[in-house]
Symmetry: C4
Subunit: 293 residues, 4 copies
């Protein structure tokens, strides 16, 4: 978002600050109003899908949807208006979502029923996290995301291995089990395999032969044991994130020891003044994000 | 509870000590008696709901319920009597529960069947934790609660993101799957989505189209992978709680700041020699078991 | 087991060493033979319960069971014979299991069908862990048990709170849902509540009303979120166990710093000889099991 | 793989480098091509198992399968050709998989339907991890595997204990529950027990008697609580792996022992000054990323 600069210092700049930023009371209010409209609009879609409510309040729902869509379309127009490079915005993640949020209702004019896709508007609430950013909450959220990013590689590797094994075992079950039990094709068997491994267990398909049940039990125990893996990896990463936050990596000019807490002014080992390296602890954090331990 | 002061040093003070405190044998006995009555009363309600037992012991259950309710009403009266500011108590968490615990049976006189709500009495057992407080157990319980409180923000963020994604995916399934498979409305689809994501998997609703099954599998794998997140966050917080033990609570003789790491020799804020307070780390640990951060 | 002393140095002592101990090859062989017999006997019971195998191999199974029972009865006799205080043994955990392991077959003479209870013999395999004790495995097993013991209090507290909330919510569902959906009594509703909270989700009982489904979703999300708690507590405890093992709590006589690794001979901070306190590192471990950090 | 040496410096050496290694662009390309063929072949098998696609594209699938099999057979021939000791390769894990990957299609000539076993080809993708080895990903993967290996003992112990208890409880349910509820034999009951404990809960078999439901609830709560154990053990192991990074791998100039903590100034074994090796802790970290313990 930082690449999107306001157009001029006049109305466009003020609009930019209200719509794209959230550090003034008006801008925060705008964000919250947006959130309320999004939730209201999604609520209308949800209720409209219930036959009973559709019959009773269908017309009300219809007009509410149109009013909110017009407001969102207006907002989209303003967003484009107040930017120097609107194309850059339209190609960004939030730009795409903003367009997708108004498209379904307009599409409804041509293609009845399309308005259900309006639920995609929910993704717009991701913007809300910008409001949260001002709260303590987000320091934690970023920590969570950091840990998630770092453990992503391992979790992907883990998922890939799992899927490979599930495919092999599911194929065996397809060969062993009668089609009547629900194992009608290998893809269906894989669907069953994942339903089993993730311990969801709908029961729409379940093995009936002793051998099939035995292999199922193996898959279950595997699923039950390996669920620990991503949890373990992720815990370890969160713990590492918490720990890294605490210690600076700068060495003491007196005794040369490092691993001082970030807020330390004097070396805890020899009492030397540490401040020369620590005048801007935050920029310091940026230079040495990872530390060593 | 600390804001509730005994009325006078006479009978009301003694009643207060018995009913509201639990550090004397009589007060502990009172708490335990209360717990037994609560469990007995809830047991009666449970058994009475079974048709067979209702027919056989219905009258016995009815009178037991009334006796316990009268005892609880008497107790509630005494609680109000022995307090200076009874209104403050009635508006507190425990006060509300105490009233709710007797209300259903009295309501039954007007509204038959209301007595089932008496199960809310179970919440009164929360008082029991006061008895546990005297035991080692609670040090741990508090640790658990602390970690829970600190990880609350992250877990809320996590739940919100999950719910948003489940809503979007469930709507797609509502569009894809035939109504006969159980996806009759978007709210029902969301119900199915959460049943799936949390790996409960009743099987009352399950996808029947290949595309629906594919999206389901994505939701399951997501649910299976991200279950690690709250576990990871929470583990990290518990570990942090345990580690806070690492900090000494002794104040620095130079600048008066505390929170030095236990192995620190010099104050990290002013560089003063700390050792005089650190000759007996063990007795030190005993005096300040929890530390503050 | 250490309180059971051999009777005399003759045959009873030797029998004691073979039967009750497992540090000689003969004694280990005895333990392994016992394990094989236990698994064989349980296997026979399992197979005999399958109608098809019962018809074909019923007689074989019958005699195998009797042979193994006679062997176990003989072994029980020898155990009693070679002990000074057999009653003490019979009242111990393993003594009770040993008697329960032979009883069902003998009971069968009076009460046909009782032999199925022979599966309790499986508990005898717990003795096998004695054999494992000689292997590296058990150091880990003990660590696991230690961590389990320490987190027991918190996990009990956790289970109690859960059960209380499940009872309250299940009662609401009993009131809301029609009896036809399976919520026929409060105990049945509680059964459903736990099936849901633990994410088992059989689907034999599932809510059909919108409000019931909404409350179910709350229970599921609660169950999904709080599953992190025992995992977190337990992880933290295992990590603590691993860490405590590593550091000695003795201070360095040179610089006064503690937290040296258990195998350290010289202070890593000032190079002073640490050995005076560390001549018997293991007895040392016993004196200071917890350390401070 | 390191024991497999190229035959001569001519074409066989070059073939060896392409097929068995993956550090040149050609060799990497070969690996990726192999992966594509494997996924394509498995995809064909999956689609062919769907009745609808089989009828439409059956012949296409048949020939694709044969082409890929011929390519794999050729590749297997080249692998054998370019090795000095092909038997050693054929007896290795990857050798066996390579043979199993082509066998099913050839078997199909004698035994129609055998080609479904071709899914075993998926195991060949394990070779791909060699490509990944060049990426950062694998450092993590190895960490994961290390932690898994170390926690294996405890997890086996854990699984054994679980299975023992499930067997005992399932037998009780077999005795209590009517055969109509699905508990037709003890092995079937054990299948149900594991379906319950792992929280899969198909619902094909579920208890109908109050006592059976009560025991089920015990199994569920047990399963729900103990799922924390492997997660805890594994988390701890991952964290230990991360922490091992703490140890420097530099040998002491005095006694030659290594494994000093990174902040150590003196050798903990002989008290020698270590600092000369520790002037650049960062470059040090880079040279020895994993440490040994």
């Amino acid at each position: 978002m930082s690449s999107l600069k306001p157009a001029d210092v006049g109305i466009r700049t003020r609009l930019f600050q209200i719509i794209f930023e959230s550090d003034t009371p008006v801008a925060k209010g705008f964000d919250i109003l947006l959130a309320i409209l999004i939730f209201m609009s999604v609520g209308v879609i949800l209720l409209d899908s219930v036959q009973e409510y559709h019959e009773r309040f269908g017309t009300l729902f219809y007009y509410t949807e149109w009013v909110i869509t017009l407001l969102f379309t207006l907002e989209l127009g303003l967003r484009i208006y107040c930017l120097h490079k609107p194309l850059l915005y339209l190609k960004s993640f939030y730009g795409i979502i903003d367009v997708l949020a108004v498209l379904p209702t307009w599409l409804m004019l041509i293609l009845p029923g399309a308005q259900t896709l309006v639920v995609i508007r929910l993704l717009r609430t991701l913007r809300l996290f910008r409001v949260l950013e001002m709260m303590a909450l987000v320091g934690q959220g970023r920590l969570l995301l950091d840990a998630l990013k770092r453990s992503r590689g391992q979790i992907m590797l883990f998922l890939f291995t799992i899927l490979m094994l599930v495919t092999i075992f599911s194929t065996f079950l397809y060969l062993i089990e009668p089609h009547e039990a629900g194992f009608t094709s290998i893809p269906t068997s894989i669907y069953w395999g994942i339903v089993t491994l993730t311990t969801v267990g709908y029961g729409d398909i379940s093995p009936v032969t002793p051998l099939g049940q035995f292999i199922s039990v193996m898959i279950m125990l595997a699923g039950y044991s390996i669920i620990a893996l991503p949890a373990g990896v992720f815990s370890a990463e969160v713990i590492r994130s918490l720990r890294e936050d605490r210690y600076s990596d700068e060495a003491c000019p007196g005794c040369g020891k490092n691993q001082h807490e970030r807020d330390a002014k004097y070396c805890k080992h020899c009492g030397t003044w540490l401040n020369e390296e620590k005048e801007e602890p935050h920029s310091d954090t940026d230079k040495h994000p990872a530390g060593t331990e």
